[in-house]
Symmetry: D2
Subunit: 308 residues, 4 copies
């Protein structure tokens, strides 16, 4: 399948580590199987929340290969790098290994519209014009602000652009604007999957997003939500979403979020350890108890939250 028609949940995979910091292959396998069983339609590895910058080059490639080989789902690989040589090396390796495409975030030095469009042209030249790619639009972290018109420009200038990981905040109007560009014929269709931990997924779907690309610790819920929304069962979709919102909100704390996510995935039996490589926030006792409390409350309506 082609990335530009992707729908559903491309879950952002964390990278499981052993407590001593080594990559945990067994947990990668279990997690990969879990994602497929959870109804995910794709997997994204080596993103920010996959602790990609903390891996060396050999580790990164090994992880991508492992997930691609096992998933039976399209796998998008983050190839964001400080320079194009490293980006090209990684992109070539993972495409050869069977990746469905690569994801590219802009460096935080970009400011003007021209700089942003120029960067993506150069990146495409570096990785190869035959490599499908995903724009990562995440101003809160990257400090790069892309207007809908700039995204359109990237899409139109680069035929290999197939998907937008939409993570602007706020971002509802941006989805509407992009879908408006498609309707007025000024932009071809791409898939729009949204991030931000799912915090606005309820309305993002209603605005025209095709699904989620985020790593919230209940990807199975995200998949259900996308399905309910696609079926037009609006109230049911919001009921499900609202039940999870207290935890979604808690997980969406910058810096702390990944610790919450790994903790819950560990509690759910998906990965063996919540360990992160340095630098990484650790949940203190109070935070741990708060997450447990949120899980207990959630379990009243969603049995998947019964974790112990």
């Amino acid at each position: 399948m082609s990335l530009d028609t992707a729908r559903g949940v491309y879950v952002i995979a964390p990278t499981p580590f052993h407590d001593d910091g080594r990559v945990d292959d067994a947990s990668i396998d279990r997690m990969t199987d879990f994602f497929r069983a959870a109804g995910c339609t794709g997997i994204t590895v080596l993103g920010q929340m996959g602790e990609a910058p903390k891996l060396d080059a050999a580790e990164a490639i090994a992880i991508a290969r492992r997930v691609i080989g096992r998933a039976g789902l399209p796998v998008v690989v983050g190839v964001t790098a400080p320079g194009f040589a490293a980006m090209r090396s990684l992109a070539r390796e993972v495409m050869d290994a069977g990746a469905a495409g690569v994801m590219i975030a802009p460096p935080n030095t970009l400011r003007t519209d021209d700089q942003i469009a120029g960067y993506y042209r150069s990146a495409v030249e570096a990785v190869g014009t035959d490599v499908p790619f995903v724009i990562q639009d995440y101003p809160l972290t990257f400090s790069v602000v892309m207007t809908p018109a700039v995204i359109r420009r990237i899409v139109q200038e680069n035929p290999s652009c197939r998907m937008l990981k939409h993570e602007d905040w706020p971002g509802l109007e941006k989805i509407s604007a992009l879908r408006g560009f498609e309707r007025d014929g000024s932009m071809r269709h791409i898939s729009i999957l949204t991030g931000n931990g799912g915090l606005f997924l309820d309305f993002e779907l209603e605005r025209g997003a095709d699904g989620a690309m985020t790593g919230y610790c209940f990807p199975d819920m995200l998949a259900d939500l996308v399905r309910l929304s696609a079926e037009g069962r609006r109230d049911a979709a919001h009921d499900l979403f609202d039940a999870h919102l207290p935890l979604i909100r808690y997980e969406q704390q910058q810096g702390v979020g990944l610790a919450v996510r790994k903790y819950v995935l560990m509690r759910r039996g998906v990965i063996d350890s919540e360990a992160q490589r340095q630098p990484g926030a650790r949940l203190g006792a109070a935070a741990r108890a708060e997450v447990d409390y949120l899980l207990a409350r959630l379990a009243r309506t969603d049995p998947r939250a019964r974790v112990g």
Copy 2:
């Protein structure tokens, strides 16, 4: 009463405008009365969400005087300014008019611990050491990161520091750290009221916050929540909070938030117009319908949300 023992809700007041941009005095009066009736224990005017930077000096003073004269509650006035001369002028005017204290945010050029502490010393010298002041700690907007140790230093160096408007994100551990400083005797007690639109108020109260200083469009709910939490009714507090969370989350979108807030306050009959001065985001039709939908869902459990 003294600000350092303040509890409850110091609501951040928006500034009501007529559709043509003039300050709307009648709405200010109605809003002031509403806040008192809603159970707020204080009011904060001329903050960022009060569109303070869009007012000229005379307007700012007039608004502060009007609210102070009518509220029958302690009023904190934002005096953040590009320089100390303007800060001093405004602070002196509003203290003479009966303000309970002033709030000071750091300029976004500050980086190091020494720069931050030095700034507050100079600001205190400018407004007068007899003027009670509130630290505004809002890194997402001001780009100034204050560690708990720096806040302690400001508190200890400046006896007139009485309160922290805590708006770090994430910020739960910061509250715990500051209350820990009080317990270990290294910092005197100050009031901690939290912002961020209330998005974490449920747990912030449990971590030791004294209440909220935020302008969520249901300050009456915030007051109830603080009361429930103080009474130790944890589940009831979370039930109330969770019902409002979809709307709290929606209102907490940067830039868009004030438009949502004013729209709901208008729907609730508190102010006449949702108008903002330029530059100001406007709710489009889709966003308006989304807010209406959230209000309708909320009204199933909270009758205050029945707005029309």
Copy 3:
């Protein structure tokens, strides 16, 4: 005369204070006379280096009036403010007092091309479409990056735009690009005066700048340089420039620069005191000795540098 045909040196005036922080009117008068005698063709007051943000509204207006009333030269007034209400008030006051135009810097929150162009449209609406204005393009301080195309857009969308204070770094290619736009007919002519303390004035003039808008402590040298360059005496222009470059470079240190500038102007007898309002860097003994050494070296070829 109209600002769009301005040439020469529009010196950025510092604001002289007494040692106790009061505005020093006698020094303002002496400085104004000195600027005219030095060959300046205009004066700019209330800029960043004029410590404008440290003045309250009444002080700012009084200073602008005083210089306008005495100079016998066109006076541009900085009206940059946190909001449009304050900007309009100040602009109206100084235009009524006889200012030649106002200067507007962009707020540091602007990122995209559309945001920048939109801001200037709103600012023009606020101050009045009849008020000639100067764009201040100073990314190092304001963190706003304007491409030549965005500047052209502002110029073309706002007939009252008459001048660019060009202070990008590096900026030579930007001057060439803008003059290219004029040649290809896509942008009408505006005056381009350059800042950055004069650090690139030698080549900026050769690229098409009309002169300088900066406050280097030898504005008389800047005026000579513009004249030599206009006469086509390239080597003589560079010889003069190079003799001053060690001091220009020293004065162009961020933060420290104004202290150097005021110190030299005091040594030259132009102002009575080097005092700045808080926050303001002070020259230590070592820096003072370094400036004295540079002045002594400069005095070997430029007698104006004999200051004591």
Copy 4:
């Protein structure tokens, strides 16, 4: 020799490329020989101006090995990386190859004093406590502001810290403060070499810097300057410096600077091509002519500037 007693010029080496972007080994060798002959006391490779982020891991190691194997001088290797795994890999490789130490710049997300000190502790743990390292303090590029007290803290907490690449701007007072810490016994001695293209090297040496770590296209002049200054020949040192200042200033333009540097090194016969990898600024015809003009003027007093 130990890095903490290093003096003179540790030249920042550019990475020579062929016009097609491949690494140019022959030019690396010629450049290495040139640096030794020019009087440099050390060489720094894989810095920002060495286009390190544009190299892939294998290229980076190969370049470091090549220079180390040939130089006959201590070689410092930049190992700044997005994460500690990649930093450790590179550091181990180059130390095994005979590097004198590594240089580490802080990531631009650091804000508070504690974050900065904590980062260096973690980095030291990652590369190994036995690996001598250089702090790179370059706020203009990295947006991380280190006070003298924070630098002292890093030095005192990490015995393997041996040198500061001082590149703050302005930075003279920082050198004085650090040397003051040594005198008052609160900080052990480290070598301080300065950057910023040499723009303040004249006074930096007088303030206590041990030399330069910068890549100005006349490292031979930098070596002479350090020698003259060490001999106490102040006026001669300044005369030499001032003659080069117009070009130093021109080369110190952000972004453009490396293009100027490579162009002059090519003109001097040190490297074969001025090519940079993408993204890289190119000198236009006007800039090229300006540099040629500056070289011609410089050649009147410094015969090394006769390049064609």
